[in-house]
Amino acid sequence: MTWQGVLQIFVLMGIAAILARVVGGYMFLVLAREGDVRSARSTGAAGPVAHTPLLDTWIGTIKSVLDRVIEPVEQGIYRICGINPDQEMRWTTYAFALLAVNLVGFAVLFVLLGLQQWLPLNPAHMPKIPFWVSLNTAISFTTNTNWQAYAGEATLSYLSQAWLVVQQFLSPVTGICLFLAVARGFSRHSTKTLGNFWRDFVRTLLWIAVPGAIIGTIVLIALGSPQNLHAYTHVTTIQGVHQTIAQGPVASMTSIMQLGNNGGGFFNMNAGQPFAGPNVASLLFQLILGFAVPSGCIYLFGRMVADVRQAWAIFAAMAILFVAGALVVYAFEAAGNPIINALHLAGHGNWVGKESRFGIGSSSLFENSTTTISWGSTAAANDSLTPLAGLVLLFNMKTGEVIFGSWGAGMIGMLAYAVLAVFLAGLMVGRTPEYLGKKIESFEVKMSVLAMVVPSFVILILAATSVVIGPGLAGIYNPGPHGLSEVLYAFSSGVGNNGSAFGGLNAASPWYAATVGIAMLLGRYAMYIPLVALGGSLAAKQRIPAGAGTFPTHTPLFVGLLIGTVVIVGALVFFPALALGPIAEQVAMHAGRLF
């Protein structure tokens, strides 16, 4: 380990905190309307709102400049699509509208992928995409997972990549809508409605996704990513070898894939492919894109409940879990594989599946980020990580992607844990639990627990089935305990809507294409629709003023309790499976056992 490798983890968290404040402040101006914000008086004596009006003035200026361009577009969309943005929706209507836009998005994407061989912008003459692969891909991109059962540069035409980009815009925006529905549960009171889905959707798309993607593309091109529509380039090298270089509209896709926490890259090797990740400056910028909105959601929540201390407590819990994970990944990767260390080369460190320009430190940081902010974009080969580094990545996903997580989804997953944490605290002292002025009763706890049970149920059932039946076993690449890790990773990634992979697994086989497809669907809808219901239930409740017996939820004690809840729920459910996979492999590796 080097000091630079350790320092960059903390620098990234510092950047995330700044992003939370700036992007969150901007999102608040764009998305929150009157009635979405709890009045500060109701939070009790202590409820400081933001203290830096200067920063908010700047953010407001930027927004008002954008307003001039975007507002006419917004009104045009409402007119064309027949949307009344002022119509308030109950949680069921809100959820059905969300499902409708995802269902149509899925169907259109599936059909368009199926037509690839007949459509233009296909200079490399890519043939028909196999049925299972296009089905899996359509689910994957609609659910914000971006699990890739194909190699982009060897399977898809430029136009097919463009259709994927459409869902890379729409699916994270859907996540913000999920978040707003839940957040309004806490910020509103005594109401049956949670806002207007279409308004939330269109405004997030126009004010956040589109401008962010355009800025991202420009910076990524400047840092070296290609953006063209030419056929692949044929060259003869100075040694006389012929090489075909795949290119295309790389930057425009990389930008929204990172900003939207999608992670589905233009190339098979994602951000590790040097056109998608040309240098570490580009990689750092991609991290900034990736952290922008998930961090922003935390602060946005604080503004909506008129108590930003609550937001920073949640940020602290996420940041501590992030730093702990990143340090463990980096420590094991820097120590390397003892079996290879025994060959006495010049130095230690696991360089298998890592790029020289990123090195072990930045690769480890990126892979820990990829499984926390749920984007699934990779810059190193996760399948070749040391076993316990792989375990950390598995853990990050198995929590339900709540350590920052993707657009909106990570924050509401963490809110479900917070509800459970105050419930546990309430049990300990024998009081009815409350969170942010709302009584947490049986229905809220049930919905939160449901959201946590879904990942464990889906991952364990599907993984257990896969390792006892022929088609499941046939798809495993690495023998021994590592093979189980591959399978666990696939379903954790699917259900967490993450999309990264232990790449050895044969994801294109019908078995894994179908089962990971199911995992992605359940991980999105079975997990988050109950939380919208939670929002609906909370919004209907009266607000109770904080009293002397109220458990404060902005203190280090609560941060610790929240972290404990995440770790215990994550560890207890999965410990047996992890013991048979990465932990068994770690022991075997130290014993010098090969498979």
Binding site: V108, V166, N268, R357
Partner: protein
């Protein structure tokens, strides 16, 4: 879910396909071609008027007189139209077999070098299989072989490396590296400067080599895609 919702969704998705799918891609491409033409077209490298590759995409170098890149798990090696990692796990005996074979091959091609002088990055395959760079240590260990094959003083070859080192970004991010293609072009220039005639060059674009007979002993024929 009402039919009105589905109709609204359909219009919204089709609008998105046109504007976020096609217009966005074309607009960004047009912008890139005007403002950043070099990057937009893949950072291609020219030598004597020919395109000889991309600065960002690694190439297969096997000749003794060139710096060689990291092992590549694509099939064939350095296939820039199908990036891939080996995906071998840490306890897979194929992985250890490949590393040992690469060490032996390196020792054979670099007489005088001992095992404990070989950095692990030089015998472990990269992520993309297209890593255009190596670490400075990976380069320095190749100096005696390159200098011998190119009839250049070792000091000249070392200078080629030191002039091409890129440091960490902001002093902390990433790893210092050297670009293999840039160094090899610098070697060619250094050779022409010393007046080695084209006929006695060990390599050069004027004399296209046949397909390299050298095969990476650690090539991963079974490598799967992610």
């Amino acid at each position: 879910m009402t039919s009105r919702m589905l109709w609204t969704s359909t219009k919204l998705v089709l609008l998105s396909c046109v504007f976020l799918g096609i217009v966005y891609m074309l607009a960004m491409t047009g912008f890139a071609e005007v403002v950043f033409p070099s990057q937009a077209n893949g950072s291609l490298v020219h030598y004597h008027g020919h395109v000889v590759g991309s600065k960002l995409i690694g190439e297969q170098f096997t000749s003794a007189g060139f710096f060689q890149g990291r092992p590549s798990a694509t099939s064939p090696a350095y296939n820039a139209a199908d990036s891939s990692a080996s995906n071998l796990g840490p306890t897979n005996k194929l992985l250890i077999g490949h590393v040992k074979a690469r060490i032996q091959a390196f020792l054979k091609e670099n007489p005088g070098i001992k095992v404990n002088q070989i950095p692990p990055s030089l015998v472990e395959s990269s992520d993309s299989g297209l890593d255009p760079d190596i670490t400075p240590a990976d380069a320095y260990v190749q100096v005696p072989r390159v200098a011998r094959a190119d009839h250049l003083p070792q000091a000249t070859v070392r200078k080629v490396i030191s002039e091409n080192i890129h440091g960490r970004f902001l002093g902390i991010f990433g790893h210092s590296y050297v670009n293999v293609l840039e160094m090899n072009l610098a070697l060619l220039r250094a050779q022409s400067a010393t007046g080695v005639s084209a006929g006695t060059r060990t390599h050069g674009i004027s004399a296209p080599a046949t397909a390299p007979g050298h095969v990476d002993p650690g090539a991963d024929p079974g490598a799967r895609k992610r």
